[in-house]
């Protein structure tokens, strides 16, 4: 059930990003719904599951885009791994936690993505980073804060809970 929900979230997010959020941009930027889940998931599950989910979500996203396959996967994997480090260190009931992790995670992801992209393509794209970092971090943080409570409930007691036999 846990994987089914993650799969459904994947499809829903990709679909909404490709459709609805084209009309709901802020300063020309759409939110990265998959990254938001990767960050919150990593926060509750830890580094390795966070990195795994980040890699899988990123890879699917890359495959849809067709070029530079692996950049989203690598970026989201590293962010998932990094945020997962805070699993046992953050008091998750504090609403400041999602605000902090989602905003820092988004900026880190964007930086990693642009860095890897620049390495692979051989040209620097840090202007895009400067232009996108703030609006994307704000947008992701806004949505992350809204979905944090229901996601946290789902990850601890709901559909995204992992059954340990």
């Amino acid at each position: 059930m846990h994987y089914l929900v993650l799969g459904a979230y994947l499809f829903l997010s990709l679909t909404l990003e490709a459709t609805l959020f084209n009309n709901l941009t802020i300063w020309g930027v759409k939110p990265d719904l998959l990254l938001i889940l990767v960050i919150i998931y990593a926060l509750f599950r830890g580094s390795v599951p966070g990195a795994q989910l980040g890699f899988f979500y990123g890879l699917v996203e890359d495959l849809l885009l067709g070029n530079f396959v692996g950049l989203n996967a690598a970026g989201k994997m590293l962010v998932g791994y990094g945020i997962g480090w805070g699993e046992k260190r953050f008091f998750k009931d504090n609403l400041f936690v999602p605000v902090f992790t989602v905003s820092v995670g988004t900026v880190a992801f964007l930086f990693l993505y642009v860095l890897l992209y620049s390495i692979v393509s051989g040209t620097g794209h840090f202007t895009a980073f400067r232009q996108m970092a703030l609006p994307l971090a704000l947008y992701n943080t806004l949505i992350g804060t809204v979905v944090y409570k229901p996601l946290a409930r789902s990850l601890t007691d709901g559909l995204l809970r992992i059954h340990r036999w």
Binding site: L14, T19, N23, L63, F68, M77
Partner: protein, 279 residues
């Protein structure tokens, strides 16, 4: 110690995946004519879903646009309505000018045809007599333009009337339909003369009276001015005979005449100022 080794292993795996990902990105960075089956699979899987959501989103957006832009649309609508009215007004004016142009062209053509016989002056009809009893028009030319009482007023279609009272810049035209507007006429084909006067009937407003019972007057014959009486030059068209009836005394008969000029729609006229040489 064991825990540290475990973390190192994790980081090693992470680095290995990272390097592989970057390598994959490098190989897929070049333009590829075809996508892999896996990529095609994902795209085909998402496309119907995206299509459905796009349709819903677009409908929602259209509704939201209408609601959010209601005030703007209302203002725009009022502005457009105002513009439509303005343009209709302009269009109407243009149509008026077009029709006036046609009428004036006809006038000019007619005037040039008669240029060797008469000197004429064009005038615009500015008013009609307010009462039903009198049949007169007011034109925008007067004494200052050289008009004199009794001058003949015509259109390319036929005789209209004669100048009655005169102002400095306007003149009253007594129509041939008026009971004071009788004039000398004749049947064009037979040259048979008679007096053309008003019947007082709106439908057939003119008649040629006191014709001998054996006079050769028939339906559809054209009636023109006879030149007798000194007001109207000879040969101007008046109307055509629609019926011939006996007079009450039984000795004479009268011809009912339909004028060529449509007096209800007359807008410009020509005043014959002088006759050049005459007949």
């Amino acid at each position: 110690m064991r825990r540290r080794r475990k973390i190192s292993q994790k980081i090693l795996v992470l680095l290995a995946v990272l390097v592989m990902s970057v390598a994959l990105a490098f190989f897929t960075s070049l333009e590829r004519p075809l996508i892999t089956k896996l990529e095609a699979f994902w795209q085909d899987l998402l496309t119907p879903l995206e299509n459905g959501v796009t349709t819903v989103v677009q409908s929602g957006k259209n509704i939201a646009d209408r609601v959010l832009n209601y005030h703007h649309i209302q203002t725009e609508n009022e502005e457009l309505k105002r513009q439509v009215e303005e343009l209709q007004e302009k269009l109407h004016l243009m149509e008026e000018y077009r029709l006036e142009n046609i009428r004036l062209r006809n006038m000019v053509h007619f005037e040039s045809l008669l240029a060797d016989q008469y000197q004429m002056l064009g005038a615009k009809v500015v008013a009609r007599h307010p009462s039903n009893w009198r049949q007169t028009l007011t034109i925008n030319r007067g004494r200052r333009d050289g008009l004199r009482e009794g001058m003949a007023v015509i259109t390319p279609r036929g005789v209209v009337g004669r100048i009655g009272t005169l102002g400095e810049r306007s003149a009253e035209v007594v129509l041939i339909l008026d009971h004071e507007g009788a004039l000398g006429g004749m049947i064009q084909s037979t040259r048979f003369p008679g007096i053309v006067e008003s019947t007082g009937d709106r439908h057939i407003p003119l008649q040629m009276v006191q014709l001998p019972h054996d006079s050769p007057v028939k339906e559809n014959q054209t009636v023109v001015t006879s030149g007798l009486g000194g007001i109207f030059p000879k040969g101007l068209r008046i109307g055509y005979v629609v019926a011939v009836q006996p007079e009450p005394n039984g000795l004479m008969k009268k011809a009912l005449i339909m004028p060529f000029v449509d007096f209800e729609r007359i807008e410009e006229v020509l005043v014959i100022m002088t006759e050049k040489g005459g007949e």
